[in-house]
């Protein structure tokens, strides 16, 4: 029965090493790789209660809980995952991982290339969403999970969830794709390109091989993040939070210093991000977004791509999300209806723009609770 939501408490990251060569869709072969992951809750005897959480552009394997009691912040989706929370760890065995190409411990551009003994840097191959799904399937095999009770993700994570049902139609019971899209629009690719250009144009980028130069392309990465951040918020949300407030008393300074609160906020966010994230990973993740188009190998037909799966779907969008607008989610829904799939679609009212998928708007939490409760009953937990 429902209980007051709690934290999963203290958690520890684990590492899964895969020694076999791994063929990527772009043609390159990785000589093995490792994935950082975390798990919460217990697998049941039937192994039917596992849920995979796919992360978005800047996410990682630390989905919920804290590493130490002193950690300032919990995992990135702590609001959604935990005992009594919508993804209830009293009922589900939840797996979060850092995707291949990431910068939080999984093999990525900053890892050592065994062939050279130096960081991969520019030599690290481009990875696409389907490569992630393939690597996640290897992790599922390793953990003894034949079929996920659900694969869940927001934004780029939602693309992975959708791709799972195309690549491994029989291994997904439920697919929850939130604030996502079946493919990017030109405008969305354009945003990504400006972000990449900011990084590529940073003199400290050194063509991607900056690791042994003692520098990082901070300015480019910061700019990329600032731009991205604007597109994750709604005009309404940003206006409500910052308006035209100035940082200091005394009115306009008639200078180019940081004066408005929104400037200060964006720069702070950009700096904080540049401290912890790797520029090459940012390039790789945005490119994976751009290339995503599961209908491509099915004559451009998304219903055909989805034909094989018996999975059930929940598609969620947010009213003020303009980076992955409700319109884009409706395209996914239309394809699922055309393919006569079991699907529910909700358009949540929120002022939080694209970021709403990480927030806790009440109807959103209620919806997730209700859906995952059905999933739990279905798999007998």
């Amino acid at each position: 029965m429902t209980q007051a939501p709690q934290s999963v408490g203290l958690v520890t990251a684990q590492c899964a090493v895969f020694d076999a060569p791994f063929q990527l869709q772009g043609g390159a072969v990785l000589p093995g790789f490792q994935l950082m992951y975390e798990t919460y809750g217990q697998m049941n005897a039937e192994r039917s209660n596992a849920i995979l959480i796919c992360h978005a552009l800047s996410g990682n394997h630390h989905v919920a809980g804290r590493y130490t009691a002193e950690d300032k912040y919990p995992g990135w989706w702590d609001s959604m995952v935990g005992p009594g929370k919508p993804i209830d760890t009293n009922r589900f065995f939840v797996v979060g991982l850092n995707n291949l190409g990431g910068c939080h411990g999984s093999t990525g551009p900053a890892s050592l290339n065994p062939a050279t003994g130096k960081p991969w840097g520019s030599a690290f191959p481009v990875v696409v969403v389907n490569d992630w799904v393939q690597s996640q399937a290897l992790l599922a095999d390793r953990l003894g999970i034949d079929k996920w009770a659900a694969v869940i993700g927001g934004s780029l994570g939602g693309m992975q969830a959708l791709r799972w049902t195309v690549t491994f139609p029989q291994r997904v019971r439920h697919c929850l794709t939130i604030a996502s899209a079946p493919k990017l629009t030109a405008q969305n690719i354009a945003f990504n390109d400006v972000a990449r250009t900011a990084i590529l144009a940073d003199p400290d980028f050194h063509g991607g091989d900056y690791y042994d130069k003692g520098v990082v392309p901070r300015r480019g990465l910061k700019l990329a993040r600032m731009l991205g951040h604007i597109t994750y918020l709604s005009d309404e949300g940003m206006g409500g939070k910052f308006g035209r407030q100035l940082k200091a008393e005394g009115g306009y300074q008639f200078s180019y210093e940081t004066e408005f609160e929104i400037e200060s906020y964006l720069r702070y966010q950009g700096d904080r991000f540049a401290d912890v994230f790797d520029a090459n990973t940012y390039l790789l993740m945005t490119k994976a977004l751009d290339y995503f188009d599961p209908a491509r190998h099915f004559g451009g037909s998304l219903p055909k791509a989805l034909e094989a799966t018996p999975a059930k779907f929940l598609v969620v969008s947010f009213t003020t999300d303009w980076r992955f607008s409700p319109e884009r989610s409706r395209e996914t829904v239309k394809a699922l209806l055309d393919a006569k799939k079991s699907v529910s679609y909700a358009e949540i009212e929120s002022v939080h723009g694209h970021d709403a998928f990480l927030m806790t708007d009440e109807p959103y939490m209620q919806l997730m609770h209700a859906y995952l409760n059905r999933v739990a009953e279905e798999v007998g937990v």
Binding site: R330, L337, V343, S344, A370, N373, R374
Partner: protein, 198 residues
Amino acid sequence: MSTKTELRPDLARIASWIAPQTRVLDLGCGDGELLAHLRDAKAVSGYGVEIDMQGVIGCVARGVNVIQRDLESGLAGFEADSFDYVVLSLTIQSMKHVEAIIDEMLRVGRTGIVTFPNFGYWENRYQLALGRMPVSETIPYQWYNTPNIHLCTLNDFDALLTSHGARITSQMVMHQGRRITFLPNLLGSLALVRFERR
């Protein structure tokens, strides 16, 4: 958990018009009561369409497929002829685009089922005769706060269907959950009409 509860009488009547193992689109489905019943009792599959978030959550909690959208914008997204039945229950009277939704129902489904409060019911006529806008069990609003902007009588609705190329295959009226056979347009407060393309 689906607990066996008594289905609303008008929904029970609609359900009786729907054959087992068919596909149903329920427009304005609320919390999915009808579709959950049809699934459990008749192995019917399909989707609900609902604009209200609490209704959507109710559907999801019952395991009923639901698409959140405004019916006023039509049924784009649903393929032509993709359902055996399209149901619109106690909703049409509050819709702006009545003709459009009838056309859409005829497009995506083989059979349409519409229920609405019958404005021809004697009590409504009586109140009008006394010089006031009717307020009754099926129309429980004042004229200034009613969501009902397109009220009609059983006969009016028949005429609309005919003019949109539909053929009525069954119709009945009810009052307080009971079927009325004598002077239906006068003695029935709730109308149920089943129709298909002519």
